[in-house]
Amino acid sequence: MHEFSIAEALAAQVLAHAPAGARVRGIEIVVGALRGLEPDALRTCWDAVTFGTPMAGSTLEVDLRPWSIRCSSCGREWSSPVPFVACLCGNSTPAPVGGDELDLVAITVDEGGT
């Protein structure tokens, strides 16, 4: 369940970036295919670790990057949510290439208000 550790790291990071007194409404992250992260599991963990904090109730948007598949027989390239897929040309073993990025790309906050 590495989602929990990642949610904890993310919460610390978001809190460090959010302006003092601001309420955090949304978080956006980008996740490479290699990470094997399950967005729903991560959201469950996010809700748990942010409970009772200025981030409580915020939405976590996960941009899960797909695999890039390259066929060595016909040269076709395409993206796929799963790594091992056959090519239309008949080649059953095109090479899957995935990224391992795990980046925080935006925070949306409500600031001020009286």
């Binding site: 790291a9 993310l10 992250i29 095109p94 906050v109 409500d110």
Partner: protein
């Protein structure tokens, strides 16, 4: 007069595990300064990580000066097994943690007398998924699969296959008794990582272990000369 709240979107690009990675980099620098080659050993529960380290420590006796960190959710059993063959063993209890993180390794290293150590084994928590994404400050990541797990495990765990500096296929002595497709297994590995070296070993029979030891020695020397090259600028 009350003022409405302003909604602001703050764009940024920052690694989520940056805090972990910073600690890992400090550990890596410290180990490099001391000339210690550090291996993060990652494999499934029951794949034979501890058995491999037991056999490895015996083979290295008198030749290298190793220390071992071993992570488990519960019990000190692995640490006790390894302490028979090495006087510098630290068991890390991760509680509910399914993988080691850089701060746990840093803290455990404080319990090791690093003076005179030239090789560090970090046996990660048995798990093919979570440990891969957490940098510990290792010099090399070694992934371990075994014949009893089935021949589809490389394909099902692409992050470990792509991240590994070496892959071990353990329990090779059981090949006559199992229908493990070694050709298919290697084909899956090669699709994901065309260059990673692969060694077939048996921690219990000793088969292939001389090549594993040779890899450790070669990789340690290569790392040390690369570090010297960097120091010379």
């Amino acid at each position: 007069m009350s003022e409405p709240a302003r909604t602001l979107r703050l764009p940024m690009v920052e690694r989520v595990l940056e805090a972990n990675d910073e600690i890992a980099d400090e550990t890596r620098d410290e180990l490099a300064r001391r000339g210690i080659f550090a291996i993060d050993l990652i494999g499934a529960p029951g794949s034979g990580k501890t058995a491999l380290l037991e056999a490895t420590l015996q083979l290295l006796k008198g030749r290298r000066r190793p220390a071992v960190l071993v992570g488990d959710l519960a019990t000190r059993r692995d640490g006790d097994r390894l302490a028979r063959w090495c006087d510098q063993v630290v068991q890390i209890s991760t509680g509910e943690g399914c993988h080691l993180e850089a701060n746990q390794v840093r803290d455990a290293l404080r319990q090791v007398d690093l003076e005179g150590v030239d090789l560090l084994f970090i046996e990660n928590v048995g798990n093919l998924i979570c440990p891969v994404g957490f940098d510990l400050g290792q010099t090399a990541k070694v992934g371990m699969f075994s014949l009893t797990e089935g021949d589809d495990k490389a394909a099902k765990h692409p992050y470990l296959v792509t991240a590994a500096d070496l892959l071990l296929l353990n329990k090779i002595d059981l090949a006559p008794h199992l229908s493990f497709d070694r050709v298919g297994f290697e084909a899956d590995v090669r699709l994901l990582n065309p260059r990673v070296p692969m060694l077939e070993v048996s921690a219990t029979s000793g088969q292939g272990l001389e090549r594993w030891i040779a890899w450790i020695d070669r990789a340690s020397v290569a790392r040390a000369s690369a570090a010297r090259g960097q120091a010379l600028g």
